[in-house]
């Protein structure tokens, strides 16, 4: 009975979190609405008014899952972030607030403007994007995602160094505090990911596997928190997924032994004519594996965010037809979003696990020393012993 009440309590907490999430989601959409109106009044004639004031769900969703130059806090307030631009004329350094939510141009080495979400060189005379000059600039701004990443890394440093200190303090004793939260996860990565996939050489891969696991898991969770300093869709960004997958690829290449390379370039026991077909596939496979790793992480996390946002969009789409309809749909949306939120909590850990597990399997293949039955038997008993 007490257990049931407890479960119910947790459910209520979950519902209230996502209800809060819903309330939060109203704000940017409202702002979006206003911005669109202002823009419309300023620039266009009455003929297209109806169309442009309509709620554009796609645009709203993409803007929420994509990176941005400022970190939206509430209403019309954003946290300004530094813009760093490298061009053939040198560096430009200014705060994102200078763009005034994309309304103003900024004069640096070039005349910059935010166009379709990215900084471009804008020719004010012709009112067009200067494609030639834009190609010359490299944008290494501290965007919302970079800031979120740095925040999450500071959080990780604080967390794990604290755990390490606790571990040193509790030497030979039972874990305490934060340590007892982290240790089971560390042991999970070690015993259920690294050891079975890599085998006896697992120890050298532990730092990367643990860092990747916690980086993905923590950022997935931070991505679920709608308010600052969460809310950035970092792990759902293809760039971040790309770097993580690239780390896996580079580590695999660095540690791979000659056995692994022989299996790639000249699979033992395969006749030459077949090798001509097989080897290119194997080489392609080398890059395909981390590529899939990247796509999986990016797609899973982004998809989750898109679905959750799509449910909110329904409220506004129906609300535009009739206010009462929107209110009715909002109840349904809320229920679906709570469900999605619970799913995403699971996915947050699941994707961290999958990424780490697949990386570990690739590392395991790279350091595997042979395929004969005897060796595998030894291996099995070896791992069973530890």
């Amino acid at each position: 009975m007490a257990n049931k009440i407890n479960i119910f309590k947790h459910f209520l907490v979950l519902v209230s979190i996502f209800a809060f999430n819903t309330l939060w989601a109203y704000e940017p959409i409202e702002k979006e609405h206003n911005a669109a109106e202002v823009h419309e009044v300023a620039t266009t004639e009455h003929g297209t008014e109806h169309e442009s004031t309509g709620f554009d769900a796609g645009k709203m969703i993409i803007e929420h899952v994509a990176d941005s130059y400022g970190w939206h806090l509430w209403g019309h307030t954003s946290l300004p972030l530094p813009i760093i631009l490298k061009s053939d004329k040198g560096f430009d350094f200014f705060m994102s607030s200078k763009f005034n939510h994309g309304h103003d141009a900024v004069q640096g080495n070039y005349n910059y403007r935010i166009h379709e979400g990215s900084i471009v060189v804008f020719d004010e005379l012709t009112g067009t994007v200067d494609e030639e000059a834009t190609a010359k600039i490299t944008d290494i701004s501290i965007t919302k995602n970079v800031a979120a990443m740095l925040f999450s890394m500071l959080l990780m440093l604080w967390m794990f160094i604290k755990v390490a200190k606790l571990a040193t303090k509790n030497r030979g004793k039972a874990p305490s505090g934060l340590q007892s939260w982290i240790e089971p996860l560390v042991m999970f990565v070690r015993d259920d990911v690294a050891k079975p996939s890599i085998g006896k050489h697992y120890e050298r891969f532990m730092p990367f596997l643990l860092t990747a696991f916690f980086f993905i898991a923590i950022n997935n969770l931070l991505g679920l928190i709608p308010i600052f300093p969460g809310g950035a869709n970092l792990t759902g960004s293809i760039s971040v997924a790309l770097v993580l997958a690239a780390f896996t690829l580079v580590i695999t290449f660095v540690v791979a032994n000659k056995h692994y390379w022989r299996h790639v370039f000249a699979m033992p026991g395969v006749p030459l004519p077949v090798l001509i077909i097989l080897t290119p596939i194997e080489i392609l496979g080398l890059f395909l594996r981390p590529f899939v790793l990247m796509i999986r992480l990016f797609a899973n996390i982004t998809a989750g965010h898109i679905i959750a946002l799509a449910f909110f969009s329904l409220i506004f789409i129906f609300g535009e037809m009739h206010a009462g309809l929107g209110l009715g749909v909002s109840v349904l949306s809320l229920v679906f979003t709570v469900f999605m939120g619970a799913m995403e909590l699971l996915v947050a850990f699941l994707q961290a696990y999958v990424f780490t597990l697949l990386s570990a399997i690739y590392f395991g293949a790279a350091v595997d020393e042979g395929h004969d039955v005897h060796h595998h038997h030894d291996h099995a008993t070896d791992t069973a012993h530890h």
Partner: protein
């Protein structure tokens, strides 16, 4: 920013900061944490092994104790038996000695009695002889007190002596 287009800036910052955090966490977090976990696992394992060993030792000790106890019991039994034997032997010896001593003393007593008896008999004989002599003397005196008596006696005696 487009959704599926990787951005150079984010890739750059991610690569740099992930490398840094990987290095920092490896040095300051994972190494001590994994070390501690391993150490604890080893200490638990050794503690379990030690407990198992102690159990074995206990068992061995118990059987040893039982053996010692049994030995002690056996020794006690032998000791008791020996003591009983010694006691019996001593009693027997004492009895024999006592009997012998008694016999010896009896023999001495008997001898003494014999000697005393002999002495008494001798003295008695002596006194009887003295008395006999005194009586004979007194009789002779009375027999020979008058002439007639002396003459009758001589006659009597002479009568007995038939001149053969």
């Amino acid at each position: 920013m487009e959704l599926v287009k990787p951005s150079i800036g984010l890739i750059f910052w991610m690569a740099v900061s992930f490398s840094i955090i990987l290095f920092l966490l490896k040095k300051f977090a994972w190494k001590p944490i994994l070390g501690m976990i391993k150490e604890r696992e080893e200490s638990i394992e050794s503690a379990l092994a030690a407990a198992e060993k102690a159990k074995e030792e206990m068992k061995a000790l118990q059987s040893n104790n039982e053996r010692i106890l049994a030995e002690a019991r056996a020794e006690r039994d032998t000791l008791l038996k020996e003591a009983r034997e010694i006691k019996d032997k001593m009693i027997l010896e004492a009895k024999t000695t006592a009997t012998k001593e008694g016999e010896r003393m009896l023999a001495i007593a008997r001898e003494n009695i014999q000697n005393e008896k002999m002495a008494a008999i001798t003295e008695l004989k002596n006194q009887v002889a003295t008395l006999s002599i005194e009586i004979a003397e007194k009789i002779l005196k009375s027999e020979l007190s008058s002439d007639e008596k002396q003459k009758s006696l001589v006659n009597t005696l002479l009568k007995d002596v038939n001149l053969n």
